[in-house]
């Protein structure tokens, strides 16, 4: 009522029901904070730190990469007999697909030596392809009939396919066997897939059924007496590659190969990459702590480290010459 404010306010009364905001560091936005300030010294030392960290890493990874011994043999062209001009017709025919290759070991290879097959121009990441599988069916024996998403490889004459879908259907089926000086070199095909895949994604009580019985065969057949969790080639294949050029593990050679060894490879050139002019390569490779042979990472580290060294030097000069 008394709107006239001329000194009539009782201060003690006011203080009690005040609307004054409660003080806290949060509401007053006074929480401690720090913000880097870009001083010349800070920038130069940041660049120097990057240099110091990156160049050793780059050198180390380059050395690691150089240590890796890799033998790559592209065979899809040479393994077609010269009397076949139509390669697609050859691969689809019933002719003998055996092909012999020789690999020369240029540098000592320490076990384990990984055997890969490498496909080029194969879009395992194609949208239609990636989706054409049914994980339930692979995992659970009771879900054998669930083939949703597997089109166009769902069933044959009404009987569902296990494993269904394009991915399984198009499984790689070239085989390799190796010998050195007439002695067989065994390839261990156990443990080439992810353990989690074997344990959780592929059921140990799921058996292949009605597989590759269709009008056209897309690739490998499966032994119907072995459960999916032990069909490691399938498991490897089913983990679809991210890039159109990819390697997949075929097996491991667990003996060292000496320099100068000649490895004879007898391979069955079954898989049809000719229809899309895809390349096939056989790869033998050792590994380092960094993985396979790839200089990119080392070079990348070295160049970034070098660049920051250059920049730090440039800034230092600028800073001292013309601060």
């Amino acid at each position: 009522m008394a709107t006239n404010t001329a000194g009539s306010n009782d201060p003690t009364l006011n203080r009690r029901q005040t609307k004054r905001p409660k003080y806290s560091k949060f509401t007053q936005q006074e929480l401690p904070a720090c913000k880097p300030i870009l001083t010349p010294q800070a920038v130069i030392s940041a660049f120097l730190i990057v240099t110091v960290v990156f160049i050793p890493i780059g050198v180390a990874s380059l050395i690691a990469s150089r240590d890796v011994v890799e033998i790559v043999d592209r065979y899809e062209a040479e393994c077609v007999p010269s009397n076949w001009t139509d390669k697609v017709a050859y691969i689809q025919s019933g002719a003998d697909k055996t092909c012999k290759r020789e690999l020369h070991v240029e540098k000592r290879m320490k076990a384990p030596i990984y055997v890969y097959y490498q496909l080029d121009n194969f879009y395992q990441n194609h949208r239609r392809y990636v989706k054409s599988r049914n994980d339930e069916q692979l995992r659970d024996a009771g879900k054998g009939n669930s083939t949703s998403g597997c089109d166009p490889e769902t069933n044959i004459n009404g009987v569902p396919i296990v494993p269904c879908g394009l991915i399984a259907w198009s499984m790689f089926n070239d085989t390799y066997s190796f010998s050195r000086n007439k002695n067989n070199v065994t390839v261990n095909k156990k443990g080439i897939s992810w353990k989690s895949d074997r344990d959780h994604k592929f059921g140990s009580d799921v058996f292949p059924k009605n597989f590759q019985n269709g009008a056209i065969k897309g690739g490998a057949s499966l032994n119907e007496t072995i459960p999916l969790s032990q069909q490691e080639d399938l498991i490897v294949w089913m983990r679809t590659a991210a890039l159109p050029t990819f390697r997949k593990l075929y097996g491991k050679i667990e003996v060292d190969l000496e320099k100068g060894d000649v490895i004879n490879v007898v391979l069955k050139n079954n898989y049809n990459t000719y229809s899309f002019s895809g390349k096939k390569k056989l790869v033998l490779s050792t590994t380092s702590w960094l993985g396979g042979k790839n200089d990119f990472l080392g070079i990348a580290y070295l160049s970034v480290g070098g660049l920051s060294f250059f920049l730090s030097m440039a800034f230092t000069i600028v800073y001292f010459v013309k601060p």
Binding site: A6, P21, F122, H126, P152, P244, F276
Partner: protein, 1049 residues
């Protein structure tokens, strides 16, 4: 004499200096006719009968209440600065007034209503009233929905947001089996969730509105029924035409025209706090003709205007007993007001329910959109074209790929166009080349949808709520004196506070406190500011008496806990009048009681009753008010009080030239100290004069048409040859911290313009004391009253200031700072400049100046000035003010800030932000505005950046999947939580552009680069490796995440 009730009309606005436009002091005054017949004598005045002496304690308490300092005045500093400015002031002579923005309530109501625009209300006959037109009943409905309409209407309203429509389209696209990129139902979920939450919120709010409507509609009011008795009726059943009785402290149920009140003269006091937030009492009047009636016998017809939103205007006339009376805004009481100090009032309902002015005004404030958001929309359009481009590239590439591999598709292991599983071999999921491309396009739209960040809108809302919270809770913005926190009334323009380039400020109540203090007086040519002489002598007494009587103050007796002590509270609409009344009380002339017929004044303990024979209200043309008092000894005196400019026109020049001269000198020095001055005059009316006036006054009071004009004429006639008594000066103190605030605003590169209704001298002196103007500024004054000279002035000023700028600007940089230009322009000149081709010149001139001071401006001109700047630059404008006259300016500016101060709450109601003090503008703009802007700008860019990186990584990947939109990354909600933990950054830098087109493009370029960095190195590193989709997807997600997290931190 008691029966001769003078017509009391409430003034639209009391003599508040701010409201008078125009007219600087001019030296040569037009000679007014000297009439020798009227000699004013100051002797032989006897004080009439003593009324009673009971509450003599009042005198002490009330004088203690009125804070007054007669002698505390004017530091020498201020004097200096004033002399400086005063010497430069060009003197212009102008006669008459322009009255540009003045609205005269009286003339409004005098306009004749046309029948088709009118609503006819038959008093006490609701049947007949509602017969031909079905007026709305008094039930109100603020709820938006009913149970049936809720879902469709709420959905409809929610989908007004374009973002939701976009979201919906994406969700629908996802439903097509050919396109299902993401899970079908999953894609609807986010939208459904948002819609659901908003819907629940709306439903809850509406439910509460339903409840409050119910309560409101079922309140009871007594309504007159046919047999003449009153019954209680629910509010919702009240109909137009019914007569409603309201008791004290009750709320008015609908808009009613007063018929009679418990006061025999028909006065009712109402509090309009619910309507406009002003807590002082307003007087409303019942018509004399209806007030005296025997209650139940009302018959008559009211013709009033159609319902409208104007709560300060009402136009109607009433036919009663064959007489036609005009009604104005003083005769209507609006729904939501409360009756106070009046035991009952009777009124006829004219507007009910949703037609009431309160309901028509209940819609929310006009919403402003932030500059940032507007700009962001532009960028979103750019992004969508980018999106379309990406989709087009993808689908074109897919088309080329499909074309080239056309023959291989059938058996391609990873494509397998043909399905052999059925007896008849058919295409499997292949719809022909054209359709495939089309589907690819749609699919890519779905995959790249995040390019347009929908989450951004939600994030922005959240961030703004947080910012509002921080602003409200800030100690720096809390006003101790009024115990008010900062108010955030508009949530969507927080960030505009960080981009302000222009501040338009009102003066009174914004820069100053609007707590008027009586500072000094000049009486009978003696300046009472410097000498300690007490005001005695007859002239002194008359002066004080004039101050005590010549006003519209209503004294209210307020009980205190101590029953012996009673306080007098002077309620009035003008703080100036209050200050004067308190001053008079301090000098022993205490206004104790006011009715429409008489006033009681306690003079040094003796109570005298004066009859108020007539009261000529203040109006903006005359700029003065006068009261005619009948003394107990039957002498009649006229007291006048008004602005100096108009008062000197009516002063009896022949009487005492020295007196006039010295008063004028005093006035000049007062006003150059920044004081608000009023001149007081008196005149004794002899019998013939009184009779003449009285006859005319009676005639005018009962006139049906043109009453206001007649009254004005009469007052002009009687306010003549007045003997000057003196002048009063009231100080409106500067608010605390204003000079510092203005200084730091200026340091921040913000241009401060002051727009005031005050006189030029007052404005300039306030400008100096608030450090708006400094000594080394060159003042450019445009002050002319006609079109031609005004334009010439403007042109000259422009040239002069250009020259100044160029000489100093080129010469040396420090000199340019020292030689700033201040433009001072008055409302009279603005009339000729605004809305003409000279606006451009004014703008150029103003943009050269560092300070612009506009004085004598009308409310609409304030808005005009704001729009002058707003339309010509892209700079952000902020208007700050506290009074009703600032509302238009506040609404016009990009950001409107209201000061919750003395002048009511209209400014606050129309503002976007409200606070207690002008100086809070500094932390608001420089800290919060800066933060809000930086953070929101950063957040928007970050959102764009993050989503674009994702999309681009996806896009690069698509290049490696034969353009088939395989998605490596399935994790969308990245770093949302990071939005909430913005670091407490404080940088001293001022208002960097945190978000603009260049920055946006830069960010996008950066995005392109970063997405490449994220994409290609892993790609090369894993080229020819056994990496599978999920792994490389994880890798990229990790890269994007850590990259963006790094960016945030």
């Amino acid at each position: 004499m008691d029966s001769k009730r003078p017509l009391l009309l409430q003034s639209p606005r009391t003599p508040n200096d701010q409201e008078f436009p125009t007219i600087p002091v001019f030296p040569e005054l037009p000679k007014s006719k000297s009439s020798s017949s009227n000699t004013v004598t100051f002797s032989g005045v006897e004080y009439g009968q003593q009324v009673d002496n009971k509450t003599s304690s009042n005198s002490s308490t009330s004088s203690s209440k009125s804070a007054m300092s007669i002698h505390s005045m004017s530091s020498s500093k201020r004097n200096n600065s004033l002399n400086h400015s005063g010497s430069k002031k060009p003197v212009t002579v102008r006669y008459g007034s322009k009255g540009g923005g003045d609205s005269d309530g009286l003339t409004m109501s005098q306009r004749e209503l046309r029948d088709e625009d009118a609503r006819l209300v038959y008093i006490n006959d609701p049947e007949k009233t509602n017969e031909s037109f079905e007026f709305f009943g008094n039930s109100i409905r603020t709820a938006k929905y009913s149970i049936l309409t809720f879902i469709p209407r709420n959905l409809f309203e929610q989908f007004h947001r374009v973002a939701y429509v976009y979201f919906l389209i994406i969700a629908i696209l996802n439903q097509l089996p050919q396109l299902a990129v993401f899970g079908r139902y999953v894609s609807i979920l986010p939208l459904a969730f948002v819609l659901f939450v908003t819907g629940v919120k709306d439903a809850f709010e509406d439910w509460r509105r339903h409840n409050s409507d119910k309560v409101e509609n079922n309140r009871l009011a007594s309504v007159l029924i046919h047999d003449g008795s009153f019954i209680d009726k629910k509010w919702k059943d009240i109909r137009v035409g019914e007569i409603v009785k309201i008791k004290t402290n009750e709320t008015i149920p609908c808009d009613i025209v007063l018929l009679s009140t418990s006061d025999p003269t028909g006065v009712a006091y109402v509090q309009t706090i619910n309507l406009d937030g002003e807590s002082n009492l307003k007087t409303r009047y019942a018509k004399q003709e209806t007030g005296s009636k025997v209650q139940p016998r009302y018959t008559g017809l009211i013709k009033c205007e159609k319902p409208n939103r104007n709560i300060y205007g009402f136009m109607a006339n009433m036919e009663i007993d064959g007489k036609k009376l005009s009604l104005g805004s003083t005769n209507i009481v609006l729904r939501g007001c409360e009756l106070k100090n009046t035991s009952w009032a009777l009124g006829v309902a004219v507007y009910c329910g949703r037609d009431t002015k309160a309901m028509l005004n209940s819609s929310g404030a006009p919403s402003k959109r932030s500059r940032l958001e507007t700009r962001m929309n532009y960028e979103i359009i750019m992004l969508s074209s980018f999106l379309v481009a990406l989709c087009t590239i993808t689908s074109v590439c897919a088309a080329v790929w499909l074309k080239r591999h056309k023959d291989e598709l059938n058996l391609l292991p990873y494509y397998r166009k043909l399905d052999f599983s059925k007896p008849k071999v058919e295409d499997y999921k292949y719809y022909g080349w054209g359709l495939e491309i089309f589907f690819t396009f749609l699919m890519s739209v779905i995959v790249y949808q995040v390019m347009i960040p929908i989450a951004l809108y939600i994030s922005m809302e959240l961030v703004r709520v947080g910012q509002a919270y921080f602003m409200i809770e800030d100690h720096r913005l809390y006003d101790e004196a009024t115990d008010s926190k900062f108010q955030c009334r508009a949530l969507n323009i927080n960030e505009d506070l960080g981009q302000i380039k222009y501040v338009f400020s009102d003066k009174t109540g914004t820069l100053t406190e609007n707590k008027m203090e009586f500072q000094c007086a000049s009486i009978w040519g003696v300046d009472y500011s410097s000498t300690k002489a007490s005001m005695d002598g007859e002239q002194g007494e008359y002066s004080v008496q004039a101050l005590a009587t010549c006003n519209t103050i209503v004294p209210l007796v307020v009980d205190t806990p101590d029953s012996d002590v009673k306080l007098l509270d002077y309620q009035g609409e003008s703080p100036d009048e209050q200050a004067l009344a308190y001053a008079a009380a301090a000098y022993g002339f205490m206004l104790i009681e006011r009715t429409s017929g008489h006033i009681v004044i306690d003079i040094h303990g003796k109570r005298l009753k004066f009859n108020v024979l007539g009261l000529h209200e203040f109006d903006s043309d005359r700029k003065r008010m006068s009261v005619i008092l009948g003394y107990p000894d039957n002498s009649v005196k006229l007291f006048v009080k008004g602005a100096d400019t108009t008062m000197f026109n009516v002063i009896d020049k022949s009487y005492n030239m020295d007196l006039i001269k010295s008063t004028e000198t005093h006035l000049h020095s007062y006003s150059s100290l920044g004081l608000r001055t009023l001149v007081i005059g008196m005149k004794e009316l002899n019998t013939s004069e009184f009779e003449q006036w009285h006859a005319a006054y009676e005639a005018a009071s009962t006139a049906v048409f043109g009453r206001a004009a007649m009254l004005k004429k009469i007052s002009n006639n009687v306010e003549n040859n007045v003997c000057i008594l003196g002048a009063s000066a009231i100080e409106d103190k500067l608010q605390q911290g204003v000079p510092e605030a203005i200084e730091s605003l200026r340091a921040a590169g913000i241009k401060v313009w002051v727009l005031t209704g005050d006189k030029q001298e007052t404005a300039i002196s306030i400008g100096f004391s608030s450090k708006l103007l400094t000594r080394n500024m060159t003042q450019v004054i445009i002050n002319s009253n006609n079109r031609v000279s005004c334009r010439k002035n403007l042109k000259d000023a422009l040239e002069r200031s250009r020259k100044l700028m160029s000489t100093y600007g080129v010469g040396n940089n420090d000199g340019a700072v020292a030689n700033q230009i201040a433009l001072i322009i008055d409302g009279g000149s603005l009339v000729h400049i605004l809305d003409s081709e000279h606006e451009e010149e004014l703008f150029q001139l103003a943009s050269l100046c560092s300070v612009v001071l506009c004085c004598r401006v009308a409310p609409l001109q304030k808005a005009g000035i704001v729009s002058l700047v707003k339309n010509r630059t892209s700079d952000m404008t902020l208007a700050i003010g506290d009074g009703a006259n600032d509302v238009s300016m506040i609404q016009m500016a990009d950001v409107g800030v209201g000061i919750s101060g003395q002048e009511g709450r209209q400014a606050v109601m129309s503002s976007d932000f409200a606070m207690g003090q002008f100086r809070f503008l500094v932390p608001l703009l420089l800290i919060h505005g800066h933060w809000n802007y930086q953070r929101l700008g950063y957040m928007i860019l970050y959102n764009f950046y993050r989503n674009a990186v994702l999309v681009l990584v996806l896009f690069w990947y698509v290049l490696y999947t034969a353009f088939t939109l395989t998605t490596a990354i399935n994790e969308w909600n990245l770093g949302r939580s990071t939005l909430l933990k913005f670091p407490q950054l404080y940088s001293a830098g001022q208002r960097d552009e945190a978000y603009n087109k260049k920055l946006f493009l830069l960010t996008m370029a950066d995005t392109l680069w970063q997405s490449m960095v994220i994409f290609w190195p892993p790609l090369f590193a894993y080229w020819k490796s056994t990496i599978d989709i999920a792994s490389i997807g994880d890798l990229w997600t990790l890269a994007t995440n850590s990259k963006s997290d790094f960016n945030v931190n």
